[in-house]
Symmetry: C2
Subunit: 145 residues, 2 copies
Amino acid sequence: MAIFSKTCEYAIRAVFYIAHKSAAGTKVGIKDIATGIDSPELYLAKILQDLSRKGLISSAKGPNGGFYINEASLNRPISDIVEVVDGNNLFYGCALGLKQCSEINPCPLHEQFKAIRSQIHELLDNTTINGFNEELMNGLLSLRK
Amino acid sequence: MAIFSKTCEYAIRAVFYIAHKSAAGTKVGIKDIATGIDSPELYLAKILQDLSRKGLISSAKGPNGGFYINEASLNRPISDIVEVVDGNNLFYGCALGLKQCSEINPCPLHEQFKAIRSQIHELLDNTTINGFNEELMNGLLSLRK
DNA sequence: ATAATAAAAGACAAAAATATCTTTTATTAT
DNA sequence: ATAATAAAAGATATTTTTGTCTTTTATTAT
Ligand code: FES
Ligand code: FES
């Protein structure tokens, strides 16, 4: 098991990819993104449609069209992406799958896990969509392979 | 998305359940366990068969049979369960699904995520199967609902 | 020996996640 | 207006995960 669903992994990688292109002022097509993050093109298209409907990214049809992210959204945290795609179970759910994580009816892992869980939340809250543009342009960070 | 697969959640809860019964010296039947942890009985049976084959738990057929855990296994960490059921991706895999998590080809979340990942590993390594027997017997901890 | 018990094993089913294919709609350039 | 482009939408397919049903095997008590 990974920490995110495959869908969410693609979503985050794609958003990072679009972000560093958007920062440079260019829209980017689905084909380019799919290649750039090494994902199945048509599946990714579905994911981006969803993110677009939810307002996380923007898109334009027709020639010179493509996906982009506006200034405001560039500064949003990637926890927003995770929440939209995978829901908030990772942030608030019980590690052992109890219907409700609570202090009054805790599972054995509760005390320890809630600390970790909140660190994950914090990490994703403090990581912005455009936080890695330079490193991505320099090729210091990877979104594929 | 949860941090463990449903299968793994059931597995850990079941093993905790068996453990605190085993500590009291009694074997426990699949029906009892399924009720005790609120899981689908026949699915859980499959999971326990697997854990049994892998040597994490023991079982006896026939009247007075059931599942139990021997002294040695009672002291094993639950990371062993996770590894058997969900593999080690949670401990070593890339957060964004890159084929290989590495320092030379890191994804944007690498630096921050590896710290969290190792804390998860540590938590599961330091949590033993029999570590909650008393609290479970006292009803201070829950494995269901 | 026989019947009862309980897990093991094998086959099957349903649901969810992942992936692909086809048609439609909007936009742009000619 | 027309043709080309590119995303949106809808339908379908595949794979994986989760869950169930049936038969078999081992053990125990009578
Ligand atoms: S009850 Fe399980 S993590 Fe809180
Ligand atoms: S490369 Fe992504 S977590 Fe290490």
